[in-house]
Symmetry: C2
Subunit: 368 residues, 2 copies
């Protein structure tokens, strides 16, 4: 279930902040993967989006999004698909961080085909892909691209994925500042070599939500903020009421004799993302019991463990579940640990607007 | 990718064992969720299958499977869908383990509608759903069903899910013996009360693979055995070469300066199932490098960690990755920790037969 009001508030918050800081917003659709949501997320912005698979690029191109950044490092055997998407109308930016691959691109026989639009990926501390700001390869790759007639060098790009594991808001702010500083510094090195570097693109939900200034940055690419989730809540990036997606389940067992309450949502619906060490919400937080049965003060319930299609309800404080709070058939809404994973288990969103009445169904793309 | 030869060998092994022990095989399609695979899995058996969602029941009914057991405890609000499927031709068995729910079913105004086909679920030690063998509710539920004109009581059923966490093959054998003994004992209690209990259904992949005798059991319902996975390998239930599914990935980074190798398969493809404590394969085992580059003796590589669309290659022994073993664009086949989860990330199977040529595409159902 996707709550329209919560979604719109999340979208507005980020879109407003991007405008305030005069940043282009190129939202990452890896979480939502939905045309309806992409339209809302790009409203009053330039219309560019980020995608995490070429399948997403294809899906979003089909529904009218032409300015796309594919945010996973490219490989030679994907270039034919890139060209095919470009010929179908996409301005598709690709990422690279490797000198040999840049050379492969520039040596390629590419006559009469649309030029590759390339971002150089910078590792600003996450430790995944990207070149360190001070690597020789930064200028070398920019030069290989600049000197090649069929490559349009777009700029530098980084993703501060380590902000998802920060221990405090202060630490997120530090990562945000460092993400900007390192990515801008890479751009400055390229420019100091007499080469163009028009774009400086950064982005993660924690660093954009908590970042205070973005000097030298031209574009941001957060994605999870559309829905948020319990992992973001645990890191202080959102409140529980900001989480726009939930899984609607039914109680399938409520047993006095062994204190067991089960629901019909398991790891295929919620995912097996446990939120990492110290995460206090098990495999999901019971947002509300739609048929109210709590006697007295409501306890905080979570999914304590999961099998494929079943979840064990537990109390967040480890106390025994109050069996009388639950009866077979009761409906529970469960907030997910990781909305990117949970949403991926579903073909479409049941859209609600405050209440429980389904006001729309929005499709989403999946697969590769 | 699904290897046809491996699949068929796995199917034959279980189908042969079921025939040897004169057991009906009602394979669980929760893992494969595919009509093509269900046809092969039921060959030379009676044709009944087990499903984990009503969506699966609908999908398999549409392709001609009529004898179905829905293996998650029923709720009142699903009964209309059950009746709808029955009216569309399904002999759909449902599960219950609750006296109040049995009473609800028997009190229901159900004139001129097909009778509910009910299995009583027994908890043989897993600690999920089901009544303990010796619970008063066992005979009470059987009696409520037997006395109701619109309920056809099918028998007792259990699932030894705890066998997935067993520490040794010996322990799996003990669980298998206990699963049979407890489920048969529940049936005997019902029969001793003068009530019918035609079926005694048990089943999990570990207990059926390693179980030695199944006295009193009429039917078995393993599912994971069709594909197996690294979790089953780790428990001694299969060998790596028995794993029928793998994820084909490309190397997207191979960097001498920081010893990092990345592939374009992350948690959306592999799932975040880490196999539990002591699991030695990270988030997946590199089965083979399709462009061979290993110099000298091949190291064992795994996926050490994952982000949404990326995986970090690591060595199983914790040593440094040999960067020269990998180049951008190299293809790796990764075996999954949990094939039920990994297969669920894909819309269809790329079927191969020994080699890498795709000989077919088989669809699968998903969602709820």
């Amino acid at each position: 279930m996707l709550d329209l009001g919560v979604l719109q508030r999340n979208l507005d918050r980020v879109a407003d902040k991007a405008r305030l800081h005069q940043l282009k917003l190129r939202p990452h659709l890896k979480t939502a993967k939905s045309a309806e949501i992409a339209r809302r997320a790009t409203a009053r912005h330039f219309g560019g989006i980020t995608v995490s698979t070429l399948r997403e690029a294809e899906y979003f191109l089909e529904v009218g999004f032409t300015d796309l950044t594919y945010s996973v490092g490219i490989t030679p055997d994907k270039l034919a698909d890139v060209t095919r998407l470009q010929q179908a109308g996409a301005r598709l930016n690709i990422l690279l961080d490797d000198v040999a691959l840049a050379r492969h691109l520039s040596d390629r026989d590419h006559r009469n085909l649309p030029p590759f639009r390339v971002f150089l990926e910078i590792d600003c501390g996450y430790g995944r892909s990207g070149q360190p700001t001070d690597a020789e390869a930064v200028v070398e790759i920019a030069r290989l691209c600049a000197e090649c007639a069929h490559i349009e060098f777009r700029g530098v790009l980084s993703h501060a994925g380590h902000s998802y594991h920060a221990g405090s808001i202060e630490e997120i702010r530090e990562i945000a500042a460092s993400e900007c500083a390192q990515t801008v510094a890479a751009a400055e090195r390229i420019r100091a070599s007499g080469l163009p570097c028009p774009e400086v693109s950064v982005g993660s939900t924690p660093t954009f939500v908590h970042g205070e200034a973005f000097p030298g940055v031209t574009e941001v690419r957060p994605g999870n903020y559309m829905f948020f989730d319990l992992s973001m809540r645990h890191r202080g990036v959102c409140e529980p009421e900001d989480i726009a997606v939930s899984v609607l389940t039914s109680v399938i067992a409520s047993r006095a004799h062994d204190g067991r309450v089960l629901v019909d949502a398991g790891c295929l619906a919620m995912s097996k993302d446990n939120g990492g060490a110290g995460h206090p919400y098990g495999y999901g937080l019971v947002r509300d019991k739609l048929n109210q049965r709590n006697h007295g003060k409501a306890a905080t319930y979570i999914l304590g463990s999961l099998s494929q299609e079943q979840g064990w309800v537990a109390r967040a404080d480890g106390a025994e579940v109050q069996i009388r709070d639950f009866a077979i058939g009761d409906r529970l809404r469960i907030l997910p640990n990781h909305s990117c994973m949970t949403a991926a288990a579903f073909d479409s969103y049941h859209v609600v607007d405050g209440g429980l009445d389904i006001v729309d169904h929005w499709g989403r793309c999946h697969g590769w």
